[in-house]
């Protein structure tokens, strides 16, 4: 059955569903923590509506609580979100034919979760012309969910103070592991992950998540080096048709 706008949109939502589950505790905790940090309900909601970047919002709210200046918070937001440069550069080649009407909202809605789901979809070999509808379905469901959860967190306010220590922060780890592991199918990919992980741990002390960027760059370099040495590009190591069968639930 050929893909339609509607089918792409719905599959995008469906593939993103598990990630939405993982994001629910974060949205609620963010709303509650931001209120406790001294942000007004309007500013808390405004962050989720207009910034829409989970980890940057957490750090921003935390910095507000510590009395940091506006400039420091905005600069920190910039650094924490730098990884999105890599995401958008990686998706960019598939956005060639899209007009600004699509590009502007899709760029705004780019998150870790949507990137992870959408890039797999774009890398499949089928030539559906409506893959941007898949991106739309994935990102709009993340966006609506994030804002609803923020609202719940704001309303619940202080009663949820203990939530973060209940271990729901593990939800992100387990979500990313579920995305990551099926991608590790070639030696260069494995090496890339190994190096990124080791550097990430060693550089963890660097401020503002700079260690994350350093680790990502080292991991990418290691993968490319291994690829050059073994002449086993990931595109050959992952038969695309096989990857397409490993549909997300």
């Amino acid at each position: 059955m050929p893909a339609t706008r509607r089918s792409e949109f719905l599959i995008g939502m469906k593939d993103t569903f598990p990630l939405i589950l993982g994001a629910i505790p974060f949205g609620i905790i963010f709303g509650a923590l931001a209120i406790n940090a001294g942000l007004s309900p309007a500013a808390t909601m405004g962050m989720s509506l207009f910034v829409f970047a989970g980890s940057a919002q957490f750090i921003g709210a935390g910095l507000v609580g510590q009395g940091a200046s506006l400039g420091v918070i905005v600069l920190t937001t910039f650094v924490v979100n730098l990884r999105h440069v890599l995401y958008s550069a990686s998706l960019g080649p598939y956005m060639k034919r899209l007009s600004q009407v699509w590009l502007l909202p899709l760029a705004f809605w780019l998150t870790d979760e949507t990137y992870a789901v959408v890039i797999r979809h774009y890398q499949r070999e089928d030539d559906s012309p409506y893959k941007h509808w898949y991106y739309f379905g994935s990102s709009i469901s993340m966006y609506v969910n994030w804002n609803l959860c923020t609202l719940i967190g704001i309303l619940a306010g202080q009663r949820l103070e203990g939530l973060a220590t209940l271990g729901l922060d593990f939800a992100m780890v387990v979500t990313f592991i579920g995305i990551l592991v099926p991608l590790l199918v070639s030696r260069p990919m494995l090496l890339s992950a190994l190096v990124a992980g080791v550097v990430g741990v060693l550089a963890n002390g660097l401020p503002n998540k700079l260690g994350l960027m350093l680790a990502a760059v080292c991991g990418i370099a290691a993968g490319m080096l291994a690829e050059a040495l073994t002449r086993q590009p990931p595109s050959e190591a992952i038969p695309l048709k096989q990857a397409a069968k490993q549909e997300m639930p």
């Binding site: 870790d112 990551l180 992980g197 963890n204």
Partner: protein
């Protein structure tokens, strides 16, 4: 602090990171090495995010069995590897993490 300015500033820098590459890259002829490099982005970034959380849950290296982040993470990795099912990995991984933390961890 002016909260409206704060939200505006954060929104602006975040968008200015997300938008330009998405809009430009597809319209440029990228060098081959860069296209190859971009394939490693998901693997490298995701690993760089989760490994410090698993190994340094309290800011210090913790390889003890009482580290539920490590045990839960390894369990989730095995589940993901065997089943390739994201939802199952999340649900079972969370369950194992919470159980391990309640029974063994601090």
């Amino acid at each position: 602090m002016n909260e409206a300015l704060l939200v505006l500033g954060m929104a602006l820098v975040t968008f200015l990171i997300r938008y330009p590459m998405l809009a430009i890259v597809g319209r440029l002829q990228l060098p081959d090495w860069l296209i190859r490099a971009l394939r490693y982005v998901p693997v490298a970034v995701l690993t760089a995010i989760i490994m410090p959380i698993m190994l340094l849950p309290n800011g210090e290296l913790d390889l003890r069995p009482s580290n539920a982040f490590l045990v839960g993470g390894i369990a989730a990795g095995i589940i993901a590897w065997r089943t390739k099912n994201l939802l199952l990995t999340i649900v079972l991984g969370m369950a194992i993490f919470l159980l391990w933390r309640a029974l063994i961890g601090g």
